[in-house]
């Protein structure tokens, strides 16, 4: 009996210590505070509401917080994550949403990432970005949200695998990845750059997609633009640091602005999730903010992504790809991948020779577009885009590998071949079919 008592006591002590550590971690994260400025008195003024509307557009709040076909901002959209599905919350002033939330409550969510009841928010809500938002902007957003029609859409519980949705796991994630703090201007850059940085790192939350995440969804913070796979969507958000990926450091500023505003520029177009971002966010930027974001993106440091070695070269595979290209692609993209122009001289069908989507380190977006086709966004500046049909029913995995390999090794490209296994692996990573 005595011999058992010592290990038992040690175990109890250890369990006690662990419980205290967990309690401490939770209490620390739930009690985070800083020198928060008080709510502005004029928050409910009409000017503030109008400003909130503009900021909500830049932040594309409705993008996640509106279900497909559902009432605006009433939540319920499923967001796929590596740990399960998160359902966005209702932001309208209903009892099921933000009804009765004060400006301080809202600040708690945006700045500290915690709900009114102290519950820690899941980081699918981009809290490392929203914490950068100034108190004045947060109050304007709050004023605008409170002025929206209430929608009685109940909150839907997240479907996260244990233990990822637990408050303790969220506290641990935050201890590693989250530090609250409003954006601090960088005195080595001018006001335009700083405005661009404030928007891009903050409300526009570019890093929510363009960061490179580790296995536990940790990233390098709100200015991490190294690029990564969007779980469950089958798209890669390419690096904004590498001009061979999606970096715009060497583009004419006008092209960057047109891509963000119109979704199309000089043969480039925003596809998939980025088309959604253009429609829901960047198309709304006013001229000054568009110029600021452009200046910031163009000044990002250049950093090449590491390119995986492609599949072993297989001449037969490329020959097959060349034949598929002639049959299915050349009519629109040109025999030499030169693309085709419309009567006004604008690129109607993009050139594939020199296309970054073709030669990006990951072939995911190329495979995605071949298999599922698509249109760029229809915007006031580009209202009737030409589109590409899906080839899902026409080309199988082997064909996709052949065609992608041909494209990545033709027209002067040396981007590496793609084999069938990689296509199948890419498909497996795309849960939503």
């Amino acid at each position: 009996m005595k011999r058992l008592l010592v290990p038992l006591m040690a175990l109890t002590a250890l369990a006690g210590l662990a419980a205290m550590a967990a309690w401490g971690l939770l209490a620390w994260q739930r009690g985070l505070s800083d020198a928060t400025p008080p709510a502005a008195l004029s928050a409910a003024a009409p000017a503030s509401v109008a400003r909130g509307a503009y900021l909500a557009a830049i932040g594309n709040c409705a993008g996640c917080h509106t279900a497909r076909g559902g009432a605006a901002l009433a939540g319920g959209r499923p967001i796929p994550t590596p740990f399960g599905t998160v359902f966005s919350s209702n932001l309208t002033p209903d009892a099921a949403g933000l009804g009765g939330w004060s400006a301080d409550d809202f600040w708690g969510a945006l700045h500290f990432g915690r709900s009114r009841d102290g519950r820690l928010l899941v980081p699918a809500h981009p809290l490392t970005n929203t914490t950068l938002v100034t108190r004045e902007d947060a109050d304007a957003l709050h004023a605008w949200l409170q002025a929206q029609p209430p929608q009685p859409a109940p909150r839907r519980a997240h479907e996260l695998r244990w233990p990822f949705g637990t408050q303790l796991a969220l506290a641990a994630w935050r201890a590693l990845n989250f530090r609250p703090g409003v954006y601090q201007p960088d005195p080595t850059h001018d006001a335009t750059w700083n405005r661009g940085a404030y928007l891009s790192q903050g409300l526009a939350h570019c890093s929510a997609c363009h960061a490179r995440r580790d296995a536990l969804a940790g990233d390098g913070g709100p200015a991490d633009f190294r690029g990564g796979l969007l779980t469950g969507l089958g798209w890669v958000a390419p690096s904004l640091l590498d001009p061979a990926e999606a970096g715009v450091q060497r583009w004419p500023a006008d092209d960057v602005q047109r891509l963000l505003r119109d979704g199309h520029a000089n043969g480039h177009s925003a596809q998939g999730p980025m088309a959604e971002v253009v429609l829901g966010s960047t198309a709304a930027l006013n001229d000054a903010d568009l110029a600021a974001m452009t200046a910031y993106l163009q000044a990002l440091p250049v950093q090449a992504v590491t390119r995986p070695t492609g599949a072993d070269p297989a001449p037969r595979r490329r020959e097959r790809g060349a034949a598929l290209y002639r049959d299915h692609c050349a009519a629109c993209h040109g025999a030499q991948g030169e693309g085709r122009l419309d009567a006004s001289g604008a690129q109607a069908y993009p050139a594939l020779a020199g296309s970054r989507m073709v030669t990006q380190a990951s072939p995911a977006n190329l495979l995605r577009v071949i298999e599922r086709g698509g249109f760029g966004p229809a915007t006031p500046g580009h209202p009737r885009p030409y589109g590409m049909p899906p080839f899902a029913g026409v080309l199988d995995a082997q064909d996709l590998a052949a065609l992608a390999s041909h494209l990545r090794e033709s027209f002067g490209h040396h981007a590496g071949e793609v084999d069938t296994v990689e296509v199948l692996r890419w498909r497996a990573a795309t849960t939503r079919r």
Partner: protein
């Protein structure tokens, strides 16, 4: 190699590309609709597999409603939903109008394989409905000739059995929906498996009438309130 020569060589490499750009892409809806006809068949005449339906000649508002239904999740087919997601209402309306304006021949009917009494029962349901089960006649909305009614009710002829079965099944399971009140969902949920089998056998076996166009308007007020009939 002298630098100038290299530049000249590089320039000629890009020349053929520039030359073949000469013929511009037509600024037409037909050209834009090529993104649709890859699946829906040439000019939207339906795909040979019977699953991607005909678009040509269907009422414009019906087609526009379906595009919005796909975009907003009332109908669920990933490829369609993703394609139309970034497009505006106005552009989708134009594309719908384009396909509605096409006047093209129809494929031959699919011979029925059911016994005559079953087909007669289907015909009875189509022309008379079933008052006991509160099922209106199909013809009440889809037109006396079953070729649809302007501006928002589609025809039921010239469609494959697989497609018709697929749609009625999707309505029953809730995978296909329309704006509330969703009368077709109610009708499909009232129909039995045997009803659906007989109806689609009968419909797919009918030749197109001499005038295959949708009727100009409903002959009488619709027997049910239908969200799909609203503008």
């Amino acid at each position: 190699m002298p630098t100038l020569l290299r530049i000249a060589l590089a320039a000629t490499l890009f020349m053929p590309a520039a030359a073949s750009l000469a013929e511009p892409v037509p600024d037409t809806l037909a050209q834009r609709a090529l993104a649709c006809t890859g699946c829906h068949g040439k000019q939207g005449r339906a795909a040979p597999d019977g699953y991607y339906p005909r678009l040509a000649g269907k009422p414009a508002r019906y087609l526009h409603h379906q595009l919005l239904n796909f975009r907003d999740g009332r109908r669920d087919y990933g490829l369609m939903s993703e394609l139309v997601a970034p497009l505006s209402d106005a552009y989708l309306k134009e594309l719908a109008g384009y396909f509605a304006s096409l006047d093209l021949p129809y494929p031959p009917p699919q011979p029925a394989t059911l016994p005559a009494p079953e087909l007669a029962r289907a015909e009875q349901l189509i022309l008379q409905g079933d008052a006991g089960r509160q099922l209106p006649a199909c013809t009440a909305c889809h037109g006396e000739r079953l070729t649809g009614t302007q501006p928002a009710v589609p025809g039921l002829l010239g469609l494959s059995r697989d497609y018709l079965n697929g749609q009625l099944g999707a309505w029953r399971s809730g995978q296909r929906r329309a704006h509330a009140p969703d009368c077709m969902a109610r009708i499909a949920k009232t129909l039995t498996d045997a009803d659906i089998h007989a109806l689609t056998q009968y419909l797919a076996a009918q030749p197109m009438p001499a005038d295959p166009h949708p009727a100009d308007a409903l002959a009488a007020p619709a027997p049910m309130r239908c969200g799909g009939l609203t503008p």
